[in-house]
């Protein structure tokens, strides 16, 4: 249960934003993409991100659409490894809590204990593993809890009602509501399922509810946040990085999301 453990820094930051009447903003960017990705983290943190989510590239990202797949391939081709990314984050002191997003095999290969310890040593608070469903999550949740890593679980639109409270009881940091049936990527409109999953999650938990997957514009972020506590924005941010916008250009996009959410 959530009450068994002290609230981690990531959840504390999100609760502080929510309790202040604001909406949470978590940009995602691919670790190891370009030479200035750590600078980009600092820039987006300064532009109003509450938490920054850093992708550790994986060869077979089944929950990711074309934008993040391409970013993964670029970063891997440039030599990014889990170790090199965590080394770069260590001591980066970006001013907001960090989470990593990667696939389970990266943690499994390193060994769950070593992986959790490596996150802690690198100053990373949270971890998202989108191919690790509740049924398989026990070993990781135990290791993460022991190491003090906030293990963030996802909740999908396909989940029956009885499943959502079970996810919310086990997640730490926030609960990641999957906004649509599909993989990551910017869509023309926010899916109705984003509002539905936000509403369903809010009805069963006090843990911050953030909606991601298919949240690609400030307008969509405002719409999704109207029913939850905030958003994760991935592909739109990564596309800016791939386009070579640099830390300032990416931060400008994040600032647009921040001001739209603040005005909502």
């Amino acid at each position: 249960m959530n009450t068994d453990l002290p609230t981690g820094p990531l959840e504390a930051a999100l609760r502080a934003r929510r309790d202040g009447g604001g909406k949470c903003l978590v940009p995602y960017l691919t670790g190891g993409l370009g030479g200035d990705w750590v600078e980009t983290i600092r820039a987006v943190a300064a532009a109003g991100a509450d938490v920054v989510e850093v992708g550790i590239p994986f060869s077979d990202p089944v929950m990711d659409g074309p934008t993040i797949q391409a970013a993964n391939e670029l970063a891997l081709a440039a030599g990014a490894t889990p170790t090199s990314i965590l080394d770069s984050l260590r001591g980066a002191d970006v001013g907001v809590p960090l989470a990593v997003m990667t696939y389970y095999n990266i943690a499994y290969r390193m060994g769950l204990e070593r992986f959790a310890d490596a996150l802690v040593e690198a100053g990373v608070s949270g971890c998202i593993l989108p191919d690790l469903p509740l049924e398989e999550a026990d070993p990781w949740l135990e290791v993460a809890a022991a190491a003090g890593v906030e293990a963030i679980l996802l909740a999908a639109p396909t989940a029956p009602d009885e499943r959502l409270p079970r996810i919310c009881e086990r997640t730490r940091g926030f609960v990641y509501g999957v906004g649509l049936l599909g993989v990551t990527g910017v869509r023309a409109e926010l899916a109705a399922s984003a509002i539905q999953i936000a509403t369903r999650l809010k009805a069963v938990t006090d843990v911050p509810v953030l909606i991601g997957v298919g949240v690609g514009t400030p307008t969509q972020a405002v719409e999704a946040s109207g029913h939850g506590d905030g958003v994760v924005v991935g592909s739109a941010v990564v596309q800016r990085m791939v386009d070579g916008a640099g830390p300032e250009g990416v931060a400008a996009l994040v600032a647009d999301f921040r001001s739209a959410l603040d005005a909502s």
Partner: protein
């Protein structure tokens, strides 16, 4: 049955499981329930058995290779899955899954394919049952298996080219899973091997047990008992698990043959990809390696979890052969027996040929999982 049931959470020993995104969990749970109900339903079984007999042409014969036996010095028999409709064992699984999908109210079949044999089989079942079919195939495989691409299109399927990663079978699986994440409400993922999340490894095995049971009976008739050795090629491992299932309780040596460039068990360590915990070719950081094999159907860095379990328990052993040995074996069977094998089962024959000294005087049943028509163009180039 002689092979063990997985645990309720889909484990064969340490291997298996359900490592899929949350979005797909209700679908794999529903599939497991639907499969259990269907398998226990005499009307479903009767319809499937009817199609296997009257449409697929089962039982497939067992052929004793008199010429090759003399040359190799062992008694070699072939389980002729190449004679099934669509030219391989894959039809057993797709008929079962397509009937199940229809029963579940799904209107669209999704499939991945490497060599195209599973894609052709899935397209065939979809045509027969009036369902939509979409097959993902890596760009590299689309080029080397042109004939099967055309066959799938003739059968009314849409073939989508997977352009990501290594652009082979592994990436076709990724693309099929991404499609399924988006279309799970009306689509059934007709996975083509004993891999993926539970219940697939167990369900696909169950659909292929028919070939193992036939082979056991045929061995009794031809040899007076089970053979000394059963051998089959292993990519994901569906044809191998099918024939192993018939002999697991016999004192028969079970041998799986992997391509040297895609030897998940031979060269891999445990990992998690495509929904399962199993042996996997990967680097020190957990990035999945690209398999490299002459055979598109075996060009896969992972392996079904039950094979990992059989390797760990020692009930089966796994060997590997090189592309050059496979090319030799492909020609050997063609010339000596008048049977052109697919490149995949040519791996099993390559092992028999290499091990002829240790197999001398023993009886060997080889699962000839598919016919070689699809590989003829590729072999023309190689042998030119």
């Amino acid at each position: 049955m002689s092979l063990s049931e997985p645990t309720p959470d889909g484990r064969f020993g340490d291997f298996g499981g359900r490592f899929v995104p949350e979005t797909l969990i209700p679908a794999v749970l529903e599939l497991e329930t639907a499969f259990r109900e269907a398998w226990a339903d005499p009307s479903y079984r009767a319809e499937l058995d009817g199609l296997l007999a009257d449409y697929a042409g089962r039982p497939s014969p067992m052929t004793e290779c008199h010429n090759l036996s003399e040359e190799l010095g062992c008694r070699l028999l072939l389980k002729r899955e190449d004679l099934n409709h669509t030219g391989s064992h894959k039809i057993n699984n797709v008929l079962g899954q397509a009937l199940l999908a229809r029963r579940m109210g799904k209107t669209r079949l999704l499939a991945e394919t490497g060599a195209g044999q599973h894609g052709v089989a899935a397209a065939t079942a979809a045509a027969l049952l009036g369902m939509e079919c979409c097959v993902y195939m890596g760009e590299v495989d689309v080029r080397r298996q042109e004939l099967n691409v055309f066959r799938m299109k003739l059968l009314g399927a849409e073939v989508r080219t997977a352009m990501s990663g290594s652009r082979t079978l592994k990436d076709a699986v990724n693309e099929a899973m991404r499609d399924w994440v988006a279309t799970v409400e009306d689509s059934h993922y007709c996975l083509g091997s004993v891999m993926g999340p539970h219940p697939y490894p167990w369900m696909v095995r169950t659909f292929h047990e028919v070939l193992g049971l036939e082979a056991r009976e045929q061995s009794e008739a031809l040899l007076g008992g089970p053979p000394d050795v059963v051998v089959a090629c292993v990519g994901g491992g569906s044809n191998a698990i099918g024939i192993f299932s018939g002999f697991a309780d016999a004192p028969t040596e079970l041998v799986g043959v992997e391509p040297a460039g895609g030897a998940a068990i031979g060269r891999g360590v445990p990992g998690v990809v495509h929904g399962m915990e199993s042996y996997l070719m990967q680097d020190e950081f957990g990035q999945v390696l690209e398999a490299e094999s002459i055979s598109a159907g075996l060009d896969y860095p992972g392996v079904g979890p039950e094979h990992s379990y059989l390797a760990a328990t020692g009930r089966a052993r796994y060997e590997s052969v090189t592309d050059a040995e496979v090319v030799e074996a492909f020609q050997l069977l063609s010339r000596s027996e008048g049977i052109i094998p697919a490149l995949e089962p040519a791996h099993a024959l390559a092992w028999v040929s290499r091990e002829r000294a240790s197999l001398a005087g023993r009886s060997v049943v080889l699962n000839l999982s598919g016919r070689g028509d699809k590989d003829v163009a590729q072999m023309m180039e190689i042998l030119a």
